[in-house]
């Protein structure tokens, strides 16, 4: 999978070759230091937040299922960096990273994970159901593939209301085999909906490698079945993701057309906090091999190469982010539990 330069179109059944791009450092040089630092800080925030979430899960402060984003930070951060403030985002249950990338307050997120009333879903959604309407963050959905039609729906609404809003929909590799994937992509292309479907291929659906479940190797090529533009991207390269998604977002906004993107990535943790990181379905060596391609380390190295970041800046920033995460935990800890009256609230609108 090469980092995408252009988005491949499926025309007449032929998928254009995706041209390889230049190195990460070279591409970084073309962007403003402010943007680059923002991307780095968001990735670091996600990493440190998720490490803390793992701790709180072990302590029993976070319950239920908790799916961490460690290793996949470049996908959420790169993709969401291309959006405008009015655009829509949908996620699967692995949604902490995208919420932080979109600007959800870490304290409000941590409070939600801890089931507190100050959480973004008032403590009633939890890790898998993060929502923030103000941010265009339309959820955390926990049935595999079921949010793809919803994303087609907000895209439909944007077109219906003649609003220049685009929908970005994240999902895991295992979702490409479920019926709602097919039905959504067909409708999106048929009705020319401004939606970008981004498949985060972290190689495993829980503990099953994708090659055991999908009859196609490059998942984005499924787009060809719908005559939909599609492309792969190196999901461990934040700028590659940004580049490919930006082009798709532009296609959605200007031409009201969907795109299917596959970002090749890797999760370092187990499927959820109750699953092992390795042992049954992958070896420790395999995991370590992927960690060498760490998206944050790679990006730091590129920024140092071009002189945008120094080691000192990175350390300072990391410390500042660790403090933000500590404060998020304090906020969550000090926040009240929902009252008993919350149990039956928000079942119906009046």
């Amino acid at each position: 999978m090469s980092s995408g330069r252009g988005v491949a179109h499926a025309t007449g059944g032929n998928v254009a070759e995706i041209t390889a791009s230049s190195t990460l450092a070279e591409r970084a040089r073309r962007l403003s230091p402010t943007l680059l630092k923002d991307l780095l800080e968001k990735m670091l925030l996600i990493r440190r937040f998720e490490e803390k979430a793992a701790e709180l899960y072990a302590l029993g402060k976070i319950g239920g299922f908790c799916h961490l984003y460690i290793g996949q930070e470049a996908v959420g951060v790169g993709a969401i960096s291309t959006l405008g403030p009015d655009d829509y985002i949908f996620c699967s249950y692995r949604d902490h990273g995208q919420a932080l990338a979109r600007g959800l307050d870490p304290g409000v997120l941590m409070a939600e994970l801890c089931g507190k009333v100050t959480g973004c879903s008032k403590g009633k959604g939890g890790s898998m159901h993060l929502f923030d309407k103000r941010l265009g963050f339309y959820g955390g959905h926990a049935i595999v593939g079921a949010h793809l039609p919803l994303a087609a729906g907000t895209a439909f609404a944007a077109r219906y209301l003649k609003e220049p809003r685009v929908t970005l929909c994240f999902f895991g590799d295992a979702a490409v085999n479920i019926g709602s994937f097919h039905e959504s992509l067909n409708l999106a292309q048929l009705w020319k909906l401004p939606v970008v479907f981004i498949c985060e291929n972290n190689e495993f659906g829980m503990g099953t490698p994708i090659e055991k479940t999908a009859a196609i190797q490059n998942l984005h090529e499924r787009g060809g079945a719908y005559n939909m533009a599609h492309a792969g991207a190196d999901g461990m390269d934040v700028l590659a993701v940004r580049e490919v998604v930006a082009e798709a977002i532009e296609r959605a906004r200007k031409d009201s057309l969907p795109t299917l993107i596959e970002a090749q990535t890797y999760r370092y943790m187990g499927h959820s906090m109750s699953d092992p990181t390795h042992g049954i379905y992958r070896t420790k060596a395999e995991l370590e091999e992927h960690r060498k391609k760490d998206p944050i380390k790679r990006f730091i190295s590129a920024l140092e190469t071009i002189g945008v970041a120094t080691q000192e800046y990175v350390e300072e920033t990391d410390n500042r982010i660790r403090e933000i995460v500590e404060q998020a935990v304090v906020f969550a800890d000090q926040s009240p539990e929902p009252g008993r009256d919350a149990l039956s609230a928000d079942v119906y609108l009046p």
Partner: protein, 326 residues
């Protein structure tokens, strides 16, 4: 008053609400160019255009989910399922997305959507195309379930459903589409959650919804000849159920027979029995009886099919048992 078919009343409701609110749109299989599989959407494509009346692929899960997403973004979709038999394909979106979105988002996302189409038994359509599935939807918090039995209610309730800010499952009767009845002229709605006493009486309460209302009314007529004065109640809305009207009637008549096409086990009537026994226990002079669909998949054979669903005779017999007249 004008005389309209049930399907025409539904059509008027959609047309009026689409004229009233630009955010209302209709999507489903065959709803546009074909004017609807049962002609309920006749003329709407011509009047409102393809942006607001959308023919979909046969993909119930996909287009229902799309409607839920559109509702999250402020639109007010009407989803037509060709029949409720096919709604099963969309149950994940109705139950897991539409019904729960408000709650799991901490009150941020209501889903103002109507999920409508014909349900109930039909003529010799066999196991997969002829069944009453309302109990499935009634089970789910976050949904409202409406089942009109007359053209007037069909129009007034559908207008209320379209204006409701919650997801409303609106189950029409496949065999009542041609039923004619008086429909008030001009603007009117029928409130969701309010039952109607179709026939006042003192000896027994018969509760029935959708096409079973007509079976119950015929039975009441026969019972009158036997000297039994039945009160017939149409809940019209199954969730939220107008328990007060049901309970008050039973407190008066002291006996209840509940009629439904659905299967007996965990059926809608079972819930009504629970409410009545709890709220009117001391008023009951006989066990509450149920007349339901038989606990089998619907057979194709005409005489077997007839045995599979409640008819007038079975209702009459149940009332005789409830009044110790047998």
């Amino acid at each position: 008053m004008s005389i309209l078919q049930y399907r025409e009343a539904l059509n008027q409701a959609m047309r009026e609400e689409m004229l009233r609110d630009d955010r209302v749109f209709l999507l489903g299989e065959e709803v546009g160019a074909y004017n609807g599989a049962y002609k309920v959407s006749r003329g709407l494509l011509n009047e409102f255009g393809p942006e607001r009346v959308l023919d979909t692929p046969i993909a119930e899960l996909g287009f229902t989910g799309l409607a839920v997403g559109a509702a999250m973004a402020g639109l007010r979709p009407i989803v037509e399922v060709m029949t409720f038999n096919f709604s099963i394909l969309a149950v994940d979106q109705v139950v897991n997305s539409a019904a729960k979105m408000l709650y799991m988002s901490g009150g941020q996302f209501g889903i103002p959507m109507v999920f409508r189409g014909p349900g109930g038994s039909a003529h010799q359509l066999a196991a997969q195309h002829s069944q009453a599935l309302e109990a499935w939807y009634c089970h789910v918090p976050g949904l409202k379930v409406v089942m009109p039995s007359t053209p007037a209610d069909a129009k007034g309730l559908l207008k209320s459903a379209i204006r409701d800010d919650n997801p409303v499952v609106f189950i029409e009767s496949e065999v009542l589409y041609g039923l004619k009845g008086e429909v008030p002229e001009g603007e009117y709605t029928v409130p969701i959650g309010v039952a109607e006493i179709k026939r006042p009486g003192n000896d027994v309460t018969i509760i029935a919804h959708s096409k079973m209302v007509h079976v119950a009314m015929e039975a009441a007529k026969d019972l009158e000849a036997e000297g039994l004065d039945a009160e017939v109640i149409d809940p019209r809305t199954l969730r939220p159920l107008d328990a007060e009207t049901l309970v008050n009637s039973v407190k008066k008549t002291n006996r209840a027979v509940i009629v439904e096409e659905g299967w007996p086990f965990c059926g809608v009537g079972a819930q009504m029995v629970d409410i009545i026994q709890e709220q009117a226990f001391d008023y009951l002079d006989a066990p509450i009886l149920r007349v339901t669909g038989t606990d089998v998949p619907t057979p194709y054979n005409k005489s077997l099919e007839h045995l599979a669903f409640p008819d007038k005779q079975r209702v009459v017999e149940a009332v005789r048992r409830a009044t110790y007249r047998n």
